[in-house]
Symmetry: C2
């Protein structure tokens, strides 16, 4: 390829590694940026360098933060009695967008996987148990994905917390708001039927 | 939104403005980057800042370069007798990937548009005519998109170069390599039939 100078090619290659972008869309994005190099590209580069420098994991919950303790863990208005366990920071962000949960989080960073050698220690499950004891947690809400791996991990955590006296709950399963029965999979319909409640 | 610190939110917002990325995929991309902040994010930020600093338009052809004259215009092995006119740098890159053209380029940066007040001067058409005279160009190849705007602009350029003695040609229209007739639009089939040649 001699279709751009080496510097621009290197940038396109780096951009192409982003999820959601391939070689073609990376080229398009870089071209878009170069045309707006003063107003968009330079600020984006700066913002990216800043986050790369400052981002770290919250020492308490594993959320991504720009200080040692994340905004949620350092927010005194957030209830300390409830810990919501999520697989990933993206799931924590999704929960926050729901604007219903006012407690704190524990980010596992994945699910248990013998194949990938991910055990309880890698997911910080002992640390979660320690937090439950220290913070006087009343309820641990398991908000893991409704996948096999997610549910296996949920069961492991529930067992690990047995005997600590904390209530372990999980998100309800059922028909999504706005969902049409005809488009739902059989498993969801069965789960919603089993968990039916008085109207 | 309090789902990430302000610094990370600002980065997500900037990323979401890239073509091909929306708010959701920008979040995913930023999260991906933060997890690889040492190996991927910092080098990407640096590459982007470098290109933002160094990128400029080639003074001769309008291609994007990191020096005043682009790699193609300063490559003495490229024929000076042929100029390929393209709408955009992306089209120049596409032509270069074809690896068939060994001449030089003229990047218009758009098409004629009364609505957007884009006239011949904005597209550098007088500059193209001057190059044809100066460089002793034998052939100008119009590689504009097969759209109404592209073809209008092509006709304008052909007229503007009339009387200079330069041969003005355009890319052939027909069935794409690997194309199946059943999936082609009627216009392409008609054009391919009109331009049929002895087998």
């Amino acid at each position: 390829m001699s279709d751009a100078t080496r510097e621009i090619e290197a940038l396109i290659e780096l951009m192409a590694r982003l999820p959601g972008l391939g070689p073609r869309s990376a080229r398009r994005a870089v071209l878009h940026l170069i045309k707006r190099r003063g107003q968009v590209m330079a600020p984006l580069a700066e913002a990216m360098a800043g986050v790369a420098r400052n981002a770290r994991e919250c020492a308490v919950c594993g959320n991504i933060a720009t200080s040692d303790i994340c905004d949620i863990c350092s927010d005194e208005r957030r209830a300390t009695g409830e810990i919501c366990v999520v697989e990933d920071v993206a799931d924590l962000w999704a929960m926050e967008r729901g604007q219903s949960f006012r407690g704190r989080y524990h980010v596992l960073g994945g699910t248990l996987s013998a194949l990938d050698a991910v055990g309880p220690d890698e997911l910080g499950i002992p640390r979660l148990a320690a937090r439950v004891a220290q913070e006087g947690t009343r309820e641990v809400i398991l908000a893991l994905n409704a996948t096999v791996d997610g549910q296996t991990t949920a069961h492991y955590i529930a067992e690990a917390l047995e005997g600590t006296g904390v209530a372990v709950t999980s998100l309800a399963q059922g028909v999504p708001i706005g969902g049409e029965l005809d488009y739902l999979d059989d498993g969801t319909i069965s789960a919603a039927l089993r968990a039916r409640k008085r109207f």
